[in-house]
C-alpha cells in the first residue's frame, strides 16, 4: 500500500488537499464566525486581520461564509457521485446483460445526453422548490447516462469472455453471474468515473448557485457567495476571488486523485489519455 502510494504522487497531493477541506468542513463552527451574521458598519471591507477574506455588501464575513460553504460543496460532490454511480451501475449492468432492455434504455440515455447538463438541472430546479436535496438530484440526473455508458461498455466486453460462459454452463443463476462475475470488473473504472462526477458536481453546484438557480441563497455555498459578489465586483473583488480560489483548489484536488487512480487502476485508459 505504501509503495503503491509512493508511485502515485498525484493521488497523495490530491488527497492531502481533500483531507484539508474535510477537516475545515468538520471544524467550521470552531474556526469561523456566524456565516449569516452581518454588521452594517463593516460593509465591503478589504481583507484584513479582522476579516481575513474581507466582508460583503451586508457586512457578512466572507471567510466564515467560505468555510461553511466547504460543507455544501463536499456534501453535493459526494452525494452526487454516490447517487449517479449507484444508479448508473444498476442500469448499466442490466443494459449490458439484457439486450432487449439495452435497446430501449440506451435510446433514452442518448436523448438525455443531448440535453446540456446545466440546462437540465436548471429546468428541474425551476420546477421544484429550491432545496439542497433538489440541487443534488438535479445535478445527479444528467450525470447518470455517462456512468451507464461506461458500465455497459465494460459489461459488454466481459460478457463474451470464456469464464462467463463457464459460469453459465455450470448453471450459475443470472443474479449471481452479474454480482459475482461481472460486477467486480466494473469497479476500477467506476471509481475513476466517480471522482470526475464528483468534481463536475462541485463545479455545477457553484455554477447553478452563481446563476441563481442553485442552493437557496440563505445557505452559504461557494456559488452563492460568488453570486453576491457579482454586482460589487469592481468595488470588492475579494468576495468572488476567495470562494473562487477554494472552488478551483477543491476541483483540482478531486481531479488529481481521479487522474492518479485512473493511471494506476486502469492502464488501458491511461494509455489513451
Amino acid at each position: 500500500m505504501l509503495s503503491w502510494l509512493r508511485r502515485n504522487p498525484t493521488i497523495i497531493a490530491g488527497s492531502a488537499i481533500l483531507v484539508f477541506f474535510v477537516v475545515i468542513a468538520l471544524i467550521a463552527p470552531w474556526i469561523a464566525g456566524d456565516p449569516l451574521g452581518f454588521d452594517p458598519l463593516a460593509r465591503l471591507k478589504r481583507p484584513s486581520a479582522e476579516f481575513w477574506f474581507g466582508t460583503d455588501q451586508l457586512g457578512r464575513d466572507v471567510f466564515s461564509r467560505v468555510v461553511f460553504g466547504t460543507r455544501i460543496s463536499l456534501i453535493v460532490g459526494v452525494s452526487v457521485a454516490m447517487i449517479a454511480t449507484v444508479i448508473g451501475l444498476l442500469i448499466g449492468v442490466l443494459c449490458g446483460y439484457y439486450r432487449r432492455v439495452d435497446e430501449i434504455v440506451m435510446r433514452i440515455m442518448d436523448g438525455m445526453m443531448a440535453i446540456p447538463a446545466i440546462l437540465l438541472a436548471i429546468a428541474l430546479i425551476t420546477l421544484m422548490k429550491a432545496s439542497l436535496l433538489i440541487v443534488v438530484i438535479a445535478i445527479s440526473i444528467p450525470e447518470i447516462p455517462r456512468v451507464v455508458r461506461l458500465v455497459r461498455s465494460v459489461v459488454l466486453s466481459v460478457r463474451g469472455l470464456p469464464y462467463i460462459e463457464a459460469a453459465v454452463s455450470t448453471g450459475t443463476r443470472e443474479l449471481r453471474i452479474m454480482s459475482r462475475h461481472i460486477l467486480p470488473s466494473t469497479i476500477a473504472p467506476l471509481i475513476v468515473q466517480a471522482t470526475y462526477v464528483c468534481s463536475a458536481a462541485v463545479l455545477t453546484e457553484a455554477g447553478l448557485s452563481f446563476l441563481g438557480a442553485g442552493t437557496p441563497p440563505d445557505i452559504p455555498s461557494w456559488g452563492n457567495v460568488i453570486a453576491t459578489g457579482r454586482a460589487y465586483f469592481q468595488l470588492a473583488p475579494w468576495i468572488i476571488f476567495f470562494p473562487g480560489l477554494m472552488l478551483a483548489l477543491a476541483v483540482l484536488a478531486i481531479n488529481l486523485v481521479g487522474d492518479g487512480l485512473r493511471d494506476s487502476l486502469d492502464p488501458r485508459i491511461a494509455r489513451r489519455l
Binding site: G111, I118, I122, A123, L203, L247
Partner: protein, 314 residues
Amino acid sequence: MTAYILKRLLAAIPVMAIVALFVFLLLHLTPGDPAAIIAGDEASPAAIASIRQKLGLDRPIWEQFGIYVGNLLRGDLGTSIFSNLPVLTLVKQRLEPTLVLAVSTLFVAVLFAVPMGVLAAWKARTAIDRIIMGFSVLGFAVPVFLIGYLLIWLFAIELHWLPVQGYRPLSEGIGETARSIVLPAFALGMVYMALIARMTRASMLEVLSEDYIRTARAKGATTTAMLLHHALRNAAVPIVTVIGIGLALLISGVVITETVFNIPGLGRLTVDAILKRDYPIIQGLIILFAVVKVLVNLTIDISYVFFDPRIRYS
C-alpha cells in the same frame, strides 16, 4: 457516402423524439402543481389558473403531448409566460452575441490547443510537455467565472486595454465586437483548450510511435512536415471527436460566461427565465440546444470521412 449521411440523419430522429418526450414529462412528473410552482408563492388562484390555461395544463395529458410535438414540428418552441412573445422570436433577438461568442471560443481554443498538444507530444516527457499538461490540469479545475473575473480585473480594470463588460453588436463594426468578445472567448475557452490539448497530445503520441513516421523521417521529411502532414492528419479523428464533445461543455459554459460579462445572449435569456420562472423559455432552449448538439455530432460523424476515408466503407 450519401447512404452513410442518411443513416446518421435517421439515427438523430429517435434521439430528438426522446428529448421532446423528456422535456414534456419533466413538467408533468415533477411533484406538485407545475402551474402553482411557476406562478410563485404569492400568486392568486386566478394567476395560477391563467398559467395553467396558457400552458394547456387543463387538457388531457396525451392531447397536450400531441399539441406539443405538433408545435415543435412546425418550429413553434412555445410562448413566454411573461412577455407573451414566441420563444423563437426571443431566441432570434438574442442569437447573435451567443453565436459570436461560441465561434470565437471555438476558434481561440483550437488555434491555441492543437499546437500546444502537438508540441507537448513532440517534446514528450520534457519540461515543455510538463508545463503544457500542468496548464491543462489547471484548465479543468478553474471555474469559468473565476477565470472571467480574473481576466476582467487584469485586462480591463488594471490595464484598461479592453472593455469591462458588455457586448458590441457586429453592426457597430467587427473591431468593436472583437474587443468586446476577446475576454469572454478566452475565459470560456480555457477548459476547452485543456481538453483539446490533452487529446491532441495523446493522439499524436500514439501516431508518433508508428512505423510510417520512422519511414517519413528516414526519407528525409523535415520535422514540420512529419509532425503536420504525417502525424497530425492521422491523429485527427480523436481530436475532432473531442472538439465536438467539448462543444457540449461550451453550451453549459455559455450561460455562465454571458452572466459574468453581461452579454445579452441566449445565456442571459436562460438566466432571466430562471428568475421569472418562465418555464416555456427554458423548455424551448433545451430543445434548441439539444438540436444543436445532435447537429454538431452529425457534422462530426460526417467529417470523419474526410479525415479517415476508411470509415466510409465500414
